[in-house]
Amino acid sequence: MNTIEPSVIDDEQLKKAINEQANPEIADIARREGIDPKETLSLRLDYKNILKIDNLCAFENLTKLQLDNNIIEKIENINFLVHLQWLDLSFNNIVVIEGLEKLTKLTDLTLFNNRISKLEGMDDLLSLNVFSIGNNNLTGLENLAYLTKFENLRVLNCAGNALCKNSNYRHYVLAHIRGLKYLDYRLVDEESIAAAREKYIDDLIALEEEEKIANQKKEELRKLTELNALHHSAHIEGIDTLFDDMFGTDPDFQRLLPVCLERTTDLQEEYRAKFEVVVNELKYFALKKRTEMNDEMNSFNECIQQTKIETDGECIAMLNHYSHFKKQLLRILQTSRDTKEIDDAIKTLKEDTSKLSDSLMAVEMTVVEQYEDVIKEFERNYTEVSMSVTEYGQGSFARMRDIENEFHERFSESILLTFERFNKGDLEEIEDELRDVLSDKDQLVNTVNGSHDFRLGKFDHQEDALVSGITQELEMLTKKLHDDEVQRDRDRVCEIFTFIDKCHAEIEVAEENAY
């Protein structure tokens, strides 16, 4: 054994391996023809003295990979095998679990007899079902808690690690890893699980609590993303936070805020109330129209589907009829000795074929026309709805601007009033920062105007998103509809022609044979 050089996986080795494992029935042909690595689903490379995993890039569809009994030191170059379900790396010299992040479909992982001292790097292997980590250097019992997250884990082999000497080992594992069926080659019975859970009841309760909180958070996040997605589809994303954005992200306003805090807050609240009304109306309208558009889309699809089923049925009936006759006539050609009969048969066959071709094409032509009409009608309706949303949005934003202007006037008024009072010297005990702000009237006015402009800018941005979003969507949809239809048409015509060609070829062959 020692005489063999440590090696890296190379092409020759791979070729040999896949040839060896080919189905004996087809092995001969396969070897001559060559086996496509892309079609290989499993690969066995054991006892090859491999030191470094490499050159597997061609085998992207592998579901099973056996690399046991080699001298591999590092898990590498297998991260692209995303279909992998079974990975055997036992009896190697691996020290760290790594490079498995993309293998999310992995259900069976064997790292038996290696030099691993810590469980890590497996966060993404959530479908893991069988895991073997026996004969390694695991020491800390707490490290096993890492396996808690694998909900599908049923078989675990941990035997032969230092931590197994710990008297609590079995109980700990059974208590923490739920659903385990086999542990260290043995069937797990209900009683021992119950006993183990009893022992670690405190830990478990704490864990459950944590889990609950995490789940709650997850749920909230999910809801939020759903809502956002909905708004996004209606092109009014971020409209809920628009108001807060307007003031929160505006530095000018933040500076002006302390000038007359109370008054400004009042104004802002008033502003918010009016603003909310408009926003809610817009939101309601947009979402309503969105569902309308979806309905429209659905009924359109339904109609297309229905027509398709009908016409296809018609065509299939025609084809079946034709094939039936063709079969009969071909049989005549085969068996008959009478030249006249053969001639007749060939003639009718040819006629039938061209007739079939014609009628199929005719059906296709009608379908194209029909679809065009329906698509046009659909587009018209869809555009109408879209336009109504756009118009309504523009109106809403105009109202918002009015409200904004009103707010701006009153705000600047109050600012100026404060400024005058400051100039008069009424306000003595104020902070230095404020003093700076109030020192220059022009600058003050500019800041106020700047803040106003900033808010208007926000409106513009939101409006733009709405209008352009709708336009884009419309364009995309129209394009997609047309493209799909063209593609469908091409496919069908191509189908018909291929078939007719084939029929002609068949007839010719039959004709030749007949004479």
Binding site: E25, I29, R32, C303, I316, L319, Q370, Y371, K502
Partner: protein, 907 residues
């Protein structure tokens, strides 16, 4: 005369006035015969008895004709039937029927068997009879034109009884009879109908319902009285109606009604069921509009010729006209048939049952025809007049005129102007009570006879009460109930069918009913026979025979071996077998057999197989070979969603002779043409390397052509599946042979199963514990007597019962000696066994004591076990020996005593 009678008399006279209105009108009624107070709506004068008698012979003829039905058709069908159906079962069955009939006839009137009330008249009854007689006298006087009332017919013992007392409300213990429909059906089935003779006269006697039930036959009055007794027992407000009905009803002639009107499934449906019309383009468009209201494709423009359309329309119109004419002609024909005059129309006396609303959630009054069990509305055309109505409580005489059948006749018996009651003491039928009383009062005022109310009030205080029914409780035994029909069978003739009903277990082949549908050639129907079975061990439920095509279709209940469901045989050859797919592992649904083809259909299989057919080489039949040459086999599969459509085989055809296999794939989405591949099978000696490129058609020309290795792998799989297919076909053949064989032997020896819960027929008698004990004792005794301990010693003596003294002594000695020997022998056996065991025990002990130090733990254990066992056995044997020693002398002495007592040795 007794006081009550006098009173009754006066009451009766009062009634007349109340009912009849003023005398002048009555005179009119008498003179005009059928016009006013007379219920008979007749064309010819009802009381012309001479004419009635003259008519009689004709009527008889009519009846006989009606009963025999349509002889032509029946005979025809029976002739066809004859060849196959008069088998041993049929014969046996007919014989049995005859026997039963005789037995029934013997069970005639026997006074010792019935209550005395049947053949005597109590004082109370006499009173009532007198009263009723009186009523009748007045009635006859007042309405001489009217038919006699059915008041006091004689019963089966020729004793006059008031009809109301003949009704005996009884509730039998069968929940199946609780509903009026099933109850009426039971009565109709259970009895044999006898038409009235002569049909225009009231019957001379009215037997008790118990008698009717026993003899299982009766006329319409017997039927109705029995049915009303039961219905009243079940709480219905039921009455016997005495009146007039059409000929069909009175003679129980159902030959004019279609069988499907009485719930017999008509075979026409299956015959007439033409495929539903295909959707025209217009309908299609309508459908499209329905499915999606908003969008629809415009239907392609149709180019029509107006001329052709108009021509078509003309033709259609013409056809319609023809059809109409035909229909009219047929209707005329029909009308003619119906009209065929019945000279006795309106004179035929009949009795049926009226059920009034109010009780048992009956919402509307209706009639039950007791002879058929059918329900009619109260204005049905078949009933032409009502004379009187009676129940167990009272008797009402109809005072309404039946101009137009029963249309407009009211059945609110409380209305005194419409119904004249016989007995005063009865409450009027409830629901109409208050309303009817008001009504009656109003009428009376109109008639200007105000003083009646007071009189009635006076009389009510001392009314004549009805004596209890003289009839026993009607008892129906379970056997009777289950036998359903008279002598277990009943046959009814309808216009298009004959229906025969048999009781369960009545026939040896388990048949419970048979419908024979007559041929109706103009409608393309050539007759068919349906037989229904129950309790068959072979689970046969129904057999349908079509003599015209020689088809036999058998239906089976689930639970048979092989999951057999239906079996269709045409002219002796099995053509179709259906299965219960869920009771089979291969999901087979049905199997069709044609001349040279066998088709099997499957469902819910894991490999998605739905169809498999084999075509045999028809030439090979001629060669007379056992093995039929398979020409080709086809398998069809459902779409398996797991693999892409162009790799999922939809149809595999194995051409066995041409050594070819063709695979047609499923349609891809949006495609109309399927891809296919045709492989040539490699010869046995050829190596895989010479794979021929298969002929193939790919619907998608852009798809990369498959590699050779894959094609070859596919071919290998196909060859394997072909082998599997052949195997499956062979298995199926074998299975069918098995089924046919099983069917044959089953038909030869039909056996019926008896459910465990059937207490009548289950022979496994449950013997009570006591009886069992007795039985046991008896058995033992008999054993004791059987065992003659002296016989071995007596054989040598020719005269066993007359032994000489010396002989007797010798026998005795021999006997005692042998017993002694036996006892000693037994003791010896026990002793020797004991010694044996002890010896072995000692040997083991010895060896143990010798090797005790070197023995392993297990060996020691074994030793201990052995010791325990041996000791136990020794103990037992010792005990037995002791006991034997104790018992032996006793036994010897006992035998000695017995021998001394033995009579044979006493000489």
């Amino acid at each position: 005369m007794d006081e009550p009678v006098e009173k009754a008399e006066s009451v009766a006279s009062l009634h007349e006035e109340a009912g009849g209105g003023n005398p002048g009108e009555e005179e009119d009624a008498v003179s005009m015969g059928s016009n006013s107070a007379n219920t008979n709506v007749v064309n010819n004068d009802p009381h012309d008895s001479a004419e009635g008698k003259e008519l009689n012979p004709n009527v008889e003829q009519d009846i006989s004709k009606a009963v025999s039905g349509e002889p032509g058709v029946t005979a025809e069908l029976e002739a066809e039937e004859g060849g196959s159906s008069v088998d041993i079962h049929e014969q046996y069955y007919i014989e049995q029927k005859e026997k039963r009939k005789k037995a029934l006839q013997q069970q005639l009137l026997d006074r010792t068997r019935v209550r005395s009330s049947y053949y005597t008249t109590s004082r109370k009854e006499a009173l009532v009879l007198q009263y009723v007689e009186n009523f009748n006298r007045q009635y006859v006087q007042l309405y001489p034109a009217r038919k006699d009332l059915f008041l006091t017919p004689a019963n089966e013992f020729n004793v006059k009884k008031f009809v109301c007392t003949t009704i005996r409300p009884t509730q039998p213990a069968f929940k199946e009879l609780y509903d009026y429909r099933s109850c009426a059906k039971f009565i109709a089935d259970y009895l044999t109908y006898e038409p009235l003779d002569p049909p225009h006269e009231l019957p001379q006697s009215l037997p008790s319902p118990t008698y009717t039930l026993k003899v299982q036959c009766g006329n319409c009055f017997d039927y109705s009285v029995l049915l009303v007794s039961l219905l009243r027992g079940f709480g219905y407000d039921a009455f016997v109606v005495s009146g007039y009905a059409s000929r069909d009803i009175t003679t129980l002639d159902e030959t004019k009604t279609e069988s499907d009107t009485i719930g017999v499934p008509s075979p026409k449906e299956s015959v007439d069921s033409a495929p539903p019309e295909k959707d025209g383009p217009a309908e299609k468009a309508a459908k499209a509009a329905e499915s999606s209201s908003k969008y629809k494709v415009k239907p392609p423009r149709m180019l029509h010729s107006h001329f052709l359309i108009s021509q078509d329309e003309k033709a259609k119109l013409q056809a319609q006209k023809d059809l109409e004419n035909q229909r009219l002609a047929m209707e005329r024909e029909k009308a003619r048939m119906v009209e065929d005059d019945d000279e006795l129309k309106g004179l035929r006396i009949h009795a049926w049952v009226l059920v009034l609303p109010g009780k048992r959630e009956v919402a509307e009054a209706f009639f039950i025809e007791a002879s058929t069990g059918r329900i009619y509305s109260t204005d049905n055309d078949n009933y032409l007049g009502v004379e009187s109505v009676f129940s167990s409580t009272n008797y009402w005489v109809n005072m309404q005129v039946c101009y137009d059948g029963l249309k407009g006749i009211h059945f609110d018996l409380g209305d005194n102007s419409k119904w004249e009651f016989v007995l005063l003491d009865n409450t009027q039928p409830s629901s109409y009570g208050s309303h009817a009383a008001g009504n009656g009062a109003g009428k009376k005022e109109d008639n200007g006879s105000d003083d009646e109310d007071d009189n009635e009030g006076e009389e009510n205080s001392e009314i004549l009460d009805l004596p209890p029914s003289w009839v026993d409780r009607i008892s129906i035994t379970k056997e009777q109930f289950e036998s359903k029909c008279p002598a277990g069978s009943k046959s009814m003739l309808y216009k298009n069918a004959r229906v025969e009903t048999f009781a369960e277990y009545h026939r040896l082949d388990g048949m419970v009913s048979r419908y024979t549908f007559f041929a109706d050639e103009p409608r393309g129907f050539y007759g068919e026979i349906r037989e229904f079975f129950n309790n068959r061990r072979d689970k046969l439920r129904q057999r349908l025979r079509v003599p015209y095509t020689g088809k036999i279709h058998e239906f089976f209940d689930p639970g048979r071996h092989h999951g057999l469901k239906e079996h269709i045989i045409v002219e002796g050859k099995t053509t179709e077998i259906h299965f219960y797919p869920h009771s089979r592992s291969d999901g087979l649904v049905k199997r069709l057999e044609k001349e040279d083809k066998i088709i099997q259909y499957f469902t819910e299989r894991e490999d998605n197989l739905v169809y498999r057919s084999v075509r045999y080489d028809s030439d090979s039949f001629d060669d007379g070979k056992d093995e039929k040459m398979i020409l080709k086999m086809t398998e069809k599969f459902e779409r398996n969603k797991a693999s892409p459509a162009h790799e999922d085989a939809a149809k595999k055809t194995y051409f066995s002779r041409d050594e070819k296999i063709r695979v047609v794939y499923h349609l891809e989405d949006g495609r109309i043409i399927a891809s296919y591949r045709e492989f040539k099978k490699p010869n046995a000696d050829q190596k895989a390397s010479t794979l021929e490129t298969p002929i193939s058609f790919e619907v998608n020309p852009y798809l990369k052509p498959p590699k050779k290795q894959h094609l070859y792998a596919q071919l290998c799989n196909l060859i394997r599946s072909e082998q599997a297919c052949i195997q499956a076909i062979k298995n199926s053949e074998r299975e069918v042979a098995e089924i046919l064989q099983a069917r044959n032997s089953e038909e030869k020896e039909i056996s019926l199963v008896i459910p465990v819960y059937d207490t009548i027929r289950n022979n496994t008698k449950v013997v009570s514990v006591e009886e069992k004990e007795n039985h046991k004792g008896e058995e033992e005794e008999s054993k004791a007597t059987d065992l003659d301990y002296l016989s071995p010693f007596l054989v040598n003596y020719p005269n066993q019962y007359a032994l000489t003294r010396s002989e007797a002594a010798a026998v005795k000695d021999a006997c005692l000696k042998s017993v002694k020997e036996r006892l000693i022998e037994k003791a010896n056996i026990i002793q020797s066994r004991l010694e044996e065991v002890t010896a072995e025990y000692q040997r083991h002990q010895l060896s143990y004591s010798r090797n005790a130090d070197s023995m392993t733990v297990e060996e020691t254990d074994d030793y201990v076990k052995f010791c325990n066992e041996s000791l136990f056995r020794i103990q037992i044997l010792e005990k037995r020996l002791a006991k034997h020693k104790e018992a032996a002398p006793e036994k010897y002495i006992e035998l000695d005593a017995r021998l001394k007592a033995d009579t044979r040795l006493n000489a």
